[in-house]
């Protein structure tokens, strides 16, 4: 698989000429699309990941609920060191586990609230699964930066008062590059207005008919 390139469109080159060196903070709207030009929701954009320092203790406990044999939300963004609770809202038991390097753990068959929350102290992507319900997949994005955003249903993220130049990283659960990797993007101080970012995703493959019945299990 070829990793898709990221293209930035500077829509207001004129204004950039006028306002250059005039300001270093700007409101920038990032528009995330897939390689087909469709808006891509639930993409994670992290700003200046390395530079930020997070005080985890002040952060609230997050909840990764399990409703109707689904993780809710599917994508949960956590700060490094933040604790996450895994309440089970279903009336059946779940066996939540992760083999991800960032946080391997197991919550063996339980119902209701587990004894204690789990702290995600390493940044990275944690893939959650349920041992007895193979269809359940959830993601916990453990960010090292304070400035981390999730694209809305239109694929848009609004970055307020971004100090330019800035380093951005992009991630999406269906990206074609390995799941642990994030795509970097450098915003120069001239950047202004809106930026469009394209993430190559694993769109559902054109399958042979035989595979259709296994659709649910396919990536």
């Amino acid at each position: 698989m070829v990793v898709q390139g990221i293209i930035i469109n500077c829509l207001a080159m004129l204004s950039m000429l006028f306002f250059s060196y005039a300001t270093f903070a700007a409101n920038i709207t990032v528009n995330v699309k897939d390689q087909h030009g469709q808006p891509l929701p639930d993409a994670v954009i992290e700003l200046n990941a390395q530079s930020s320092d997070i005080n985890a203790e002040k952060l609230p406990k997050l909840i990764m609920d399990q409703v109707d044999k689904r993780f809710a939300p599917t994508l949960l963004i956590a700060r490094k060191g933040q604790q996450v609770n895994f309440p089970n809202s279903d009336n059946i038991r779940h066996h939540v586990y992760s083999f991800s390097k960032a946080k391997p753990f197991q919550l063996k068959l339980y119902s209701g609230q587990p004894d204690k929350p789990i702290e995600f102290d390493t940044d990275g992507v944690v893939v959650l699964g349920c041992n007895i319900h193979d269809s359940m997949v959830g993601y916990i994005y453990v960010a090292s930066s304070e400035h981390v955003y999730q694209s809305d249903s239109n694929g848009n993220v609004v970055l307020d008062d971004v100090t330019l130049p800035a380093q951005l990283t992009f991630w999406h659960s269906t990206q074609t590059i390995p799941l642990e990797e994030k795509t970097p993007l450098a915003l120069t101080k001239d950047a202004v207005g809106s930026v469009t970012v394209v993430i190559a995703t694993q769109s559902p493959k054109p399958r042979n008919t035989f595979g259709n019945k296994f659709k649910a299990n396919n990536d």
Partner: protein
Amino acid sequence: MTNSLKNRVIIVCVGLVLLTTVVSLFSFWWSTSQFNEKKVTQDINVAENVYKQYLTAKESLLLTAAKVLTSDFGFKQAVATRDADTIGSVLYNHSQRIDAELMLLLDLSGKLISSNKPNQEFSNDLEQMMNELLTNAEQSNFVVLDNDLYQVILLPVRAPRTIAYSLVGFKITDEVATELKNLTNMDVSFIAEQDGLVRSSLLSRPSPFSPNDYFYQATTSRIFGEQVIYRNRDLHLASLEGHSVNVLLSADLTQSYTEFERLFFTIILLAALTIMIGVVASSLLAKNLTMPLSQLASLARQFAQGNYSVDSMSNKQSTEIKTLIDAFKNMGNDINEREQQISFAAKHDTLTGFYNRSAMLEVLNESLAKNQDYTLVAIDIKGLRHINDKLGPRVGDDCLKAVACRIAEFSDELGGFHARIGGDEFLTVFPTTSSQNLKKGISGLMALLETPYMLQKLKINLRFSAGVVSYPDQGTAPDDLMRRVLIAVDSATNEHENIHHYREGEDEEHLESLLIIDELKQAIADDDGQLFMTYQPKLNFATQKVDKVESLIRWQRKNGSWVSPELFIDLAEQSGLIVELTEWVIDTVVKQVGQWQHAGIFMQAAINVSAQDIAYPGFHANLLKVLKSYSVAPALITIELTERDMIENEEKGIQALNKLKAIGVKISLDDYGVGQTSLGRLKMLPIDELKLDKCFILKLDESEKDQFIVKSTITLGHQLGFSVVAEGVETQKSLEILQDLKCDHIQGYYLSRPLKADLFEQWLEQYNELA
């Protein structure tokens, strides 16, 4: 016999049976072939289905096994740890559980992480293989790995996202193929063409073994020639690109060939039996049908041989045949009746009921074989023609019947038999008991016959001639007897006898006469000098010159012997040959007269003709034609007729003579004085000349009586206006007497004997010189 009805019936029946057999054999052959074809196809279809089921089952087993493996949490955990040894042991463990020979774990890029067998290395490009398998996810594929064929399935290991791939596979070995063969009863061959790998259920293989060649080309030698052993179906298996794997299902046809042949021979045997039965049955049928026909045929042959008695034939016949037999019987009876009628009519005279001549010959042949003397009497009714002419043929027929009746009465009494052998001739034959009885018998018979007859209120007297021949003294063969008795009766008639007993030699005379007639006929036709004319001069006293000749015919046969003119002329008259003979004479004489005329010799020639000649209608015309053709004046020709010839058929004769006289031909009455010519008749005859018979002239010089007769006859002739000729003058004295008596011409040896033309000319010259 090939054309006989029987054979035809048999041929038709056997032909029908044969046709039926051949048609059924063909339809059997066709339908069996079709059935076999269908069966084989069906078998292959079944085999294909079985095989698919088998593979699907295997696949599903594989899938299940692989899924169980990849879903196992411990396994997932182990994979997540990436601890190769652990993973290897897990794989081994699982492969043992499900009997899978192949179990590999590949990472997402297709690199081998671990396998169920430690330290296993593969020469294949696993990454590429994995990528291809991924496009056929959850479906088994056939791949060749390190010279082994596997049915494999690739499944992702999810935790919960795919972290690795697990490749599970069953090895396809010859045993697997054999197992499939046991299920389907067909040879199964897995062929990886590009990889050069074959797994087959065929145990005894040729070397090198290529299933595609072998199964498609193997033949077996059967009754109907070389036949392919296998019917094949080639199926493509799910496999990698460039590494196709096919399965070849090969149905062995040997069994079906054997069954087909057995059936075929059974049918042939049945057909042969049917034909045999057909032959026998149709033979019986044909025999039934043709037996009465051949019986009828032999009956017809029997009829042909004249045997009309019909044996009773079998009553078991069909009505048609019975009708035919009845018709045959009736035909036989009718033919018999008619044959008897015909045969009676053929043998008998219809008027009298007597045997006819040819039947009489048979009767003689049959009846005269005993040691018994017989008398044969041929009876001729004299003057029956007159009765027919004057009283009508009915009276004539009644006369014949009455005569026949009396003959029958006579011969029946003597135990003889009788026949009508001619128009007015009968033959009666009776045993000769004694010589005096014979005489009495014949004269008695004649007396009986000559008793007057009362017919149609007429009293008729008939007169008869009879010829008698004795058997066996005067002949034994019926032909001879018949001929001799006829000769005898002819002799009786000719010689005016009442009864003529056949004399030895008459038959030979008769035969000689026949021979002479035959030769004469030939001599006239050939005109080769056997017959020739002589001329005897007549002296005219008035002129003292020879101015007339009498032409006389002579015959010297080829063998040199002379035949007397009286004999052969008589025979010619009897046989009717006289007309031709006279024509020849006229031609010869007129021609001679013509020649003399040319030579300056004017000579009247007399020609002797008979009553038959005069009566012959062509005589006059022929004479005219000849005279004309030789330019001879009719006055130079004199026709000489005897008194007897003049009298016969007088009226017609006088008419003809008058016609001759009218054209200038002279008429002379020959042999005058010895016949029956009355003076009254003499007055009426249209003659120019009287010729005194030589009996008055020969001794004229010695006999005074002859002189008186001659003198008065000459005077009478002269007074009636005739000239008078005397023939037979042999002495000077006679000549002188005749001259004194004023006879006109003389003829005789004193002057000259008859001479051939050239001699006569010489004689005439000398005579004229002397005078």
